[in-house]
Each structure stands twice: as C-alpha cells, then as structure tokens.
Symmetry: C2
Subunit: 387 residues, 2 copies
C-alpha cells in the first residue's frame, strides 16, 4: 500500500532545526522533500559538529531522505527554476523571519493568488502576528519565556533548560500537524492554506499542568527536580551505580515497595501511611529509601521492584538508550545508508507506527549540497500530466 | 470554510494525559470527539487537584469541547450502544495496556475485519510490540529511560525531570500526527489503519542532537544546566530581580554584548576573543557578566540588550506567561465557556494557526461525566445517510 503522503511534493526552504524536523517527518510519511539551500554554504547545520568524514552528524540526523538543490532566490536564473518547482509543489515550508518571503515575492498572499492549491507552512520564533512578530528567537529564548524553564530544575535552584531542544522540536511537530490538517482540508475544498507556527506558542501548548494550576489558583508552580510535585515517593533514587526511578502512585504500591526494601514498618507509621503525609516529608523518605537502595546496583533494584509490582525504570544516558532492546525492537534507531563511501550515521526512527506504513532500520542518506540539481531539472522537464 | 476535521467522529476511550491531549487537538481541528468513560468515576483526572466548584482544572484544560457518555464495555446494554457508535465512527482512540481491547472483543484485528474504514489509534508506555509491550509506564519512567533526564539538570548534578509532562504530551502529539496521516491515506485507499504510539519511542524521536552526537562519537552528552553546550555565552544570567537569557551566537554579537555591559576589553582578550576560548571558561565569563547584570533589574537588561542587537529574553513563570502580550495576541490563552454556572477555567489555545481555521479566545467547557448520554442516543437514532 502507498505511504500516506506518496506523490506529494514539498519545497523545503527551512534550515537548522524546527523546519527540517517537520520535513523529515513528511519524508517518513512518504512525501518527496526537495531541500532548497543557499548556494555555497547550504543549511547552517552542515557546519555543526561532530563530523564523520567531513559530514555533520547533526545535519545527517535531520535531513535524511531529502534531495538538495542550491538556489539563490534573488538571481533570475534560479528564480525561474523555483517558479517551475512551485508549479509542481503541494507544500512550501519556510522558517525565515516574517517579511523575508514577501520581499522575495513569494509571500503567502502572492503565492495563494497564483497557486490556490498550494499549502504554505511557516515556523518562526514568535509567529507572523502580534507585537513581536518580527523578532528572531532561539530555542533557549522560547524555553525561558514560555515557562518550561521555570518548572524544570531543583527546588530553590536556578532555572534549567530542557536538554532536548523542545523549543524547536515541538514547533516543528505542530507544523507537521498543521500541514497534514491542511492537506485534509484541501481534499474537501481544493484550496491551500497558510499554517503559521510560533515557537513561543508551541511552548505554552505543552504545559497543560502548569496552566491549569496557575489558572485556577493564581500561583505558578516551581521546579521539583526529579520528584513528582503531588505524589510521594515518585522520583529518582540513588543506587550504588546510578539512579533508579520509583513511582509509587498509590498506598498499595507504597506497601509493596516497603516490603521489597525491608521498610515494613513504614506503612503503619502515621508520618508515612498516606500520600498526603508522605508529601509533607519527601526528603526524609528519600533518605530512608536511599539508605537501602545505595547498597546494591540499579539492575538489582529494577529486578526486585518489577517482581514486587512497583513501577520502576532506569535513568539511561543516550549510549544506553541506543542499545535498549525495547527501543531497538521498535526500529527506533535507524542507520543511514552509506551510498558506497559515506559514513553510516544513526538517527531516530519514525515513532509513528502504522499498520500499512513500512518501517525499516535503514534510511537513505542526507543529501550533499546541490547534489540533486540535474535530476530535479530533468524531472521538471518531464510531463506533469496526471498530477 | 469548514474546519479540516469537520464531520469526523472520534470515539475516545483514553484517559489521563497522552490520549486526551491528542483528542483535544482533534477537537481544535474540528472533529466531534465522544469521550467514553467508565461509569461512576470517569477519567482519573476528574479527581486531580486543583478544583473550582468541585471540578478539576486539570481535567477541564485537557477535555474541553468533548461530549461524555459513561459506558461499561463489559455490560451487554452498554456494549450495544458502543456497537452503534462504532458504526458511525471514523476513529477509535485507546490508551489501555496492550491486550485489554482484545479481551473486550474490540481489538484492531476484530474491528478492522468488521469495519474496514475505521482508524484505530493506540498510545501506551512501550508500544504494542517488543519484549516489554505489556508493561505500564508513567511519564517519569519514559523520561528517565528515554534519555532526556540524562541531559537535563546541572553539570555533575542529579538527573532532573522536564517540568512539562513531555513523556505523555509528545506521545499524544505523535498520535495526532498518525491519525491525520491515516485519514489522508484513507482518502486514497478507503481503508483504515492502526496507529501504535509508544511513549518511550516518542522520547527518542525528540532528541536529534543527543542521538547525532552519541552515534558519531560514542560519548553520550550530559546535562549543562541552562547553558548551551557548545556556544558561550548562551545561558541564563542573574539580574537583580530574576534571570535574563543572553544568547551570543557569534563573535559580532559577543562584541555588542560587551559594549552594552561595559566589558569593552573582553573581545580583545585572547581568553575571550573566540567562542572556542570562551567555551574553555564559561564559569569565569558568567561571573564577569553577572557582576554587571546583578546591579539592575531584568527589565533594564532586556531593553539594553534588545537595543544593542543581542538576542535576549526573560525567564518567565506561568503567571507571567499567561499575561505575556505576544502570547495573548496569538490567542494562546483561552477561557472555557461557563455554561451559566460553571467556573471559567483557562487552557492553552491552539498553536496551529491556519488561515481558514477560526481561532477565538473561548472554548466550550469540558463535559460533566455522562452529560451527553441522551443526546448521543438521540443522534444514533437519526438517519445516518449522507455520511
């Protein structure tokens, strides 16, 4: 069966992270993504370390399966090629600052008037509307301003950035959703739409808990380290060789936890018998638990707690994650094809498992800058009938 | 113009967070979502604090715009209603542990054989395949095991949980993408698909940077607090009344930063002249910068740095976020309609801004348990022709 986006053509003018993250998802769903890069340097991330054989691992992880053509959209010859590409395109993606596409003559209003079926997706720091529409932003700026840093970190400590670039990545995911929704709408109306994603908006959208608490009480929550704010014990605890997650979501689990650790008296102690009581003294309880857990390794405690029916897990670094049998069994670590002489980069697999979507452990490589120019020009010369 | 998912019927058997997060997105895109809850208690989150007039703010933020019917899928009468709902449904969503739907007689294979157009979306801790398919998981378990906690927190400090529940939320977002992709595929093939999302897979998918580094070097990255791992200065710095982000992405910006702070000698000092040199001594540079920034308030430094062309921003808590003019101008804070006598909860707006998708600042309320039973039964009695 054909992939969901088979036959769709995406012109991808985006660079760095949020936009390319979206267009990689569209590749995984079957779209043909043509990456349009500036001549000479291409996407900034081609210069991001680390490198293997002179190629950026970061660029590779974010751009596999796309084709590349270098175009200067201010030069007449290249603009002519871009015009011909537009005639074949279903979707255009860009992450310039608002106004740049308009100055090039390719703003949404112009394009929509000429190509009413074309879908236009934009992702920017603050969106295309509002008092700060024109400003640039970085991942950390929207993580800070959007509130997630205020709830991440140790209690009483300084704000901490989320280690993953969720300022960019979540925005890229919303762009993907918007493009898919616009494709569905076009199926009914025949008309394309503009999708306008703001990285700052996207940060707000993922914080349902903090919004609900602040909206109802007026008091914004703060950071709580690795501890659940309202359930105890529900945190990471030190074992001899690392950390183990213990998630005792109710009193019955807590009783099983205490039996497994040899803390049999605790469930009868009024200071620890209920979650409300335990939430009064999480640090004391942590010390009681770690007095036991520090005596043995993580593997030991995972086995003991799983046997006792206590939700648990390891805190893994990325090297451990990339060897995790469950993750590997789901094809979530993929290798880029080496194309003869190129390095075998790894990337995340497609987390969208669909019964009719092939899901292997290899992917085509990321393109070298402008490598598909001739093939794209040849394709433009072919008959477009049937599309 | 009609919303993208207008006319689509979603039967939502999910509870707590990942599944309801997805179905709220489908509501925002125009779908009719019927929330099917267990009789008596309903969704667990109806009991999550804080409450206004006895209703959970958390439940409200995640379930606005849905209708509710309480069904016991083990009771014959209620199963008959569910069967009739299935005849009208485009999508079924569930987040039970793998196997539960099969034991109820509503597993994917059974449903697909009887209702080939039906799309089936599942989200679970570890997915429906692999050695640990049956195990439950919590947000913190997949944040820990999936690696994001290993790159979040202070350098050398204990692992820190991301304050937002990205273990659930990102999985819910991928479920949304899978459902939208399956709808597009159905438009071609006429057939529904199963979408199987694992919370653990989803964690891997958002860490392109850590995966690229680890895959290319074998060395997993660790946490770096609020500091960018490879650009300096690019972090939060203390001002008199809070923290300010300073993001000096290149030497020209660094020179402007130094001029603005009165540290004019630094760009000529070989210890600080290049990013490579600065990355050798981020703590010393932080002390030099904070000696200046601690003397004035955040507002002062935002104004000074913006004027100097240095990317900057505040670290806002959620109370500040909910008052932020740019966020408000984008309709990202919405109020739930009070329906006469109900509390006016707030929730995040829809971050997917589309040119033909209405985007207001109010939403219908979340349903009371089973409140729409009679209306749903009446609708089932109407003629289904035309769908």
């Amino acid at each position: 069966m054909a992939k969901p986006l088979a036959g769709l053509v995406v012109l991808d003018l985006t660079h760095v992270l949020a936009g390319p993250f979206c267009s990689t998802q569209l590749v995984d769903l079957g779209a043909r993504v043509i990456k349009i890069e500036r001549p000479g340097l291409g996407d900034d991330t081609r210069a991001f370390p680390p490198f293997l054989d002179g190629e950026s691992a970061y660029f590779a992880a974010l751009n596999h399966g796309k084709s590349s053509i270098a175009l200067n959209l201010k030069a007449a010859d290249d603009r002519e090629i871009f015009e011909r590409l537009l005639q074949r395109a279903d979707v255009v993606l860009e992450n310039y600052r608002p106004g740049v596409m308009e100055r090039l003559g390719y703003g949404w209003d112009d394009l929509h008037a000429r190509l009413p079926r074309l879908i236009y997706g934009a992702v920017s720091g603050f969106g295309h509307t509002g008092p700060e529409a024109g400003k640039p932003a970085y991942d950390m700026v929207v993580q800070a301003r959007g509130g997630v840093m205020s709830i991440t970190g140790e209690t009483g400590g300084p704000p901490v950035r989320v280690g993953a670039s969720i300022g960019d990545v979540v925005a890229g995911m919303y762009l993907t959703q918007g493009i898919l929704a616009a494709l569905i709408a076009r199926g009914q109306s025949g008309l394309g739409q503009k999708v306008d994603i703001s990285m700052l908006d996207a940060q707000l959208a993922i914080q349902e808990h903090a919004i609900a608490i602040t909206g109802a009480t007026g008091v914004p929550p703060g950071p709580t380290g690795a501890r659940h704010p309202t359930i105890t014990p529900f945190a990471t605890y030190r074992a001899r060789d690392g950390f183990v997650v213990i998630a005792a979501g109710n009193d019955a689990i807590f009783a099983r936890l205490c039996a497994a650790l040899g803390l049999d008296h605790l469930p009868d102690d009024p200071d620890y018998a209920t979650n409300t009581a335990r939430c009064q003294r999480p640090d004391l309880l942590k010390r009681l638990i770690e007095t036991i857990t520090l005596t043995r390794d993580v593997d030991h405690w995972i086995a003991v707690l799983e046997h006792a029916g206590v939700p648990t897990g390891r805190v893994q670094n990325m090297a451990q994650v990339l060897r995790d049998p469950q993750i590997l069994s789901r094809n979530m670590v993929v290798t880029l094809q080496t194309d003869g002489d190129r390095p075998a980069f790894v990337a995340a697999g497609n987390p969208i498992k669909m019964s009719d979507l092939p899901d292997g452990t290899t992917r085509p490589p990321a393109p070298r800058l402008d490598q598909d120019r001739q093939q794209i020009l040849d394709w433009l010369d072919t008959d477009a009938t049937g599309r």
